[in-house]
Chain length 510, copies 2
């Protein structure tokens, strides 16, 4: 649901109050970035990360990537596949990595500036399963994937797409065609491409060019898609990930380097130790991108939290997660790069835990001034499942935060002297002119929150926020209209996809 | 449940990792106070509030209070009961109001410094009803009131008591005896007294003195109890509230002046206008306290939010609520006083809305650096109901925030060089010495969050966070032990309460 309610036409009565106008499309952080580490600690962690890369190095499984590192001056041991990268190489890469990246979209009004101060949200990503109150928990399939895209498209506060459900009923060698078609016909927002090998990535780039009628030069004028690169923490980059970094860099598309450093599991158990490792791996990925193509768009990234030390399960929205998000922001700003973070939840159902964990993560990223917060809506089970009702409730949280991005201008009339003077002691302001002029536009209108009293709520069925959310996603899906130009984009990519499918598609990189 | 897990005894094996030690008793805000208003806007709002008091004035229903204002130099019209207070009188009061107040408790280890930078939480207050999953929604009674006290006492992150349920089965003229007895025998934390007229207040003060064996001088050495004073916005102070301000001030006990300025209802519809009114009323209350006794402990307070403009129902956790909390902090700091704020929820049940709204309010108060956040746990239905399961889930949120108050010291060993060097690429840190030394103490242990995977969770009954919370409060109530000295305190107040009850108690002030 596009929350932009336009002002009513000129024919409306002059006394009619202005309708609420909101714009959640390009948000800037409302609060200054906070700190949980001293500047001195940040500097020491940065130094240690450079030392990790220089003295210990990391294992890079793709020969092509090792060649790039070697050509850039790194010390490569082909037997062990270990690459040691000097700090001069790393810092030269940081220097050429762009500080502001234009994220392009089918609809120019959906474009984003990926830079410090921007506040960008993307939905739950990487979920193999989906769940809702009507159909229950199930493996992701194409129909579900397309439904999630419709939900993403329905809210302006979701700024770019992410793979909320895996279409597992589509064979792996053809799946990327279905995912690109879905994104380009059901949405007009910046798209996501999985880095699952060169074949799929090049197909996906070609589909974007065809859909939008782009020349090669057009395609590299800003980034038309993004991918997420997860290192195999600790200190390893696997083949599809390394290839993804190289291919995206060469094509001028943004990869988001994101070690997934769970403290106590794939990373040291302390916040500081996990972040040293995260920072080192992140810098290694950024360096590879810049060695592939200097100036290539690439994002610093972090998604660190702790594990439950009893079960080894990842935890989200915890004190450790909050601290890691804020301190990742400190490290990203230390090297001067925009960066991605994440919210999320380990809850198995859309309940108070799910809401609480996600709120903790969202506020952490607000205090961290994260450029991009991934998994900001719909993530359940630590990412194993996309929850329809959770998505709707999370949108309420995102919209609430988005509202804070409009500064209070506080002109004198907002201080309401006349209204205060007019209303007698013990009276009320419902009927004052000051209120009447503003009553339709003063406050955020809740999406799923029910503010009615207990009796009214009970008489209406005593439905929880989770239950009410069902009706909302059902209504959105039932009333969905594809964005302008969808049919044309679908037509422009149909032949290519048909031909490539006949040719056998492209298998994921092993 | 006291979350302080002590270190294990000396007899423990030397290789045993240290247990987790936490202390949630005296928290300091971890982040700098944020702003949503420019300093200039704050100054203009303060000026306008002074002008409201000076030019428009407020209606004060209690003759004794009007006499105090008049004696202090205010212009009083006995016919209209209007009091106009000059800015010199107001600013003199602000100057004598203490900036740091010692909140005393039965247990000295529960004492609090009520001052800028402190982060104090109190539970849901003022609820006529209570609800839980076993017994359903019901009117508050004494048994419920006493249960809520046991729950408050069970968590260190609840720093002072509040009236979470109204014991409506106790006659109004005797109810304050039951409420004081409950607080002083079931808890050792700072207590709350309702300002429902001089008779009840003086009885309550005497019960505190008797329970603790305090002389008059002891009783006024710090504040042994607190009350909340709600003005009748707009611009009115009723009799019991005015009397409460006077009685608490004269007895050296802290009253918390809290206009409840719902924007669009009892206050102007704009954030700025509502806060001008709130600030004016708050300063009027503080002035009355200082006129009654210069230097008396009194707190600035605010609990402003918006109403749903369709139903007129109060809303919480909204963008307006967040902004008002943060800007109230700006106004309180403008006059240099510690202050109270509030979280809360309008939800009718312990669901995602309830969790979301409370998290929004809690983070708002964190960014606002609220000295005291009232209604921080258990508030449902905009305060009409205390929810047992909501209380437990809210405690998880409070404990998560409390964890952030311990600074990261970041000594070199926390950066984990040896661990990073020891673990091979693609390996894991579960078994490293660095992890083993810390695994039992590294992370916050969740109270109600369930981090198990879907299969395990489903096999265990697929219970939501709300359902799991039931077992927690049941266990806490079943295993509750009264704090040290409870029986003695109960014995010391028994005769007084019996005598006063025979005499007819004290009816609430009309």
């Amino acid at each position: 649901m596009d929350q932009t309610h336009r002002r009513k036409g000129r024919a409306a009565r002059r006394t009619e109050p202005p309708a609420r106008v909101v714009n959640y499309r390009r948000l800037r952080h409302p609060f200054a970035p906070q700190k949980v580490l001293t500047d001195d600690a940040v500097a020491r962690m940065h130094e240690m990360a450079l030392k990790v890369l220089e003295d210990l190095g990391l294992r890079v499984l793709l020969p092509e990537a090792r060649r790039l590192y070697a050509a850039g001056g790194a010390i490569v041991d082909e037997d062990t596949e270990m690459v040691r990268v000097g700090r001069d190489i790393v810092m030269a890469a940081v220097a050429t990595a762009p500080k502001s990246i234009r994220l392009r979209a089918v609809n120019p009004d959906r474009e984003l500036s990926y830079e410090d101060g921007a506040m960008i949200f993307s939905p739950a990503g990487g979920c193999p399963n989906a769940t809702d109150r009507i159909r229950g928990r199930r493996s992701g399939d194409l129909a579900t994937f397309e439904e999630t895209l419709k939900l993403h498209q329905s809210f302006d506060v979701i700024h770019k797409l992410g793979p909320s459900a895996e279409p597992q009923d589509v064979p792996a060698n053809l799946r990327h065609y279905a995912m690109m078609r879905g994104q380009l016909t059901l949405s007009d927002k910046p798209v996501f491409v999985y880095a699952r090998g060169r074949g799929q990535v090049e197909d996906s780039f070609e589909i974007i060019r065809l859909a939008n009628g782009l020349s090669e030069a057009d395609f590299t004028d800003g980034s038309w898609c993004t991918t997420v690169i997860n290192t195999n923490s600790p200190r390893q980059i696997d083949k599809p990930m390394a290839e993804g970094i190289i291919d995206f860099a060469r094509a001028g598309q943004m990869s988001i380097i994101t070690p997934f450093c769970l403290a106590g599991a794939m990373a040291p158990v302390t916040v500081e130790g996990a972040l040293v490792l995260q920072h080192a791996e992140c810098l290694a990925g950024i360096t590879l991108a810049q060695l592939a193509k200097p100036g290539a768009p690439v994002s610093y990234g972090g998604f660190s939290s702790n594990v439950d030390m009893k079960s080894g399960a990842p935890a989200f929205g915890t004190p450790t997660h909050i601290r890691m998000a804020i301190s990742t922001g400190q490290l990203a700003r230390h090297v001067g790069l925009p960066w991605r973070s994440a919210a999320g939840s380990a809850a198995n159902v859309a309940d108070m835990q799910a809401a609480g964990e996600n709120h903790m993560g969202l506020w952490a990223n607000l205090l961290a001034n994260a450029t991009l917060t991934i998994h900001s809506a719909g993530w359940l089970e630590g990412g194993l499942t996309f929850g329809y009702e959770k998505f709707i409730n999370d949108i309420e949280a995102l919209q609430t935060l988005a509202e804070l991005c409009t500064p209070l201008a506080s002109p004198q009339e907002e201080l309401a002297w006349d209204a205060i003077a007019d209303v007698q002691p013990g009276g009320h302001f419902f009927a004052t002119g000051h209120t009447m002029e503003r009553f339709d536009s003063a406050f955020y209108a809740p999406l799923v929150a029910d503010l009615s009293n207990f009796g009214t709520w009970e008489a209406a069925g005593a439905r929880t926020a989770t239950e009410r959310a069902t009706a909302i996603w059902q209504r959105l899906l039932a009333g969905f209209c594809a964005p302008e130009g969808s049919a044309e984009r679908g037509a422009r990519i149909a032949d290519f996809i048909a031909r490539r499918s006949t040719e056998g598609g492209a298998a994921p990189r092993g």
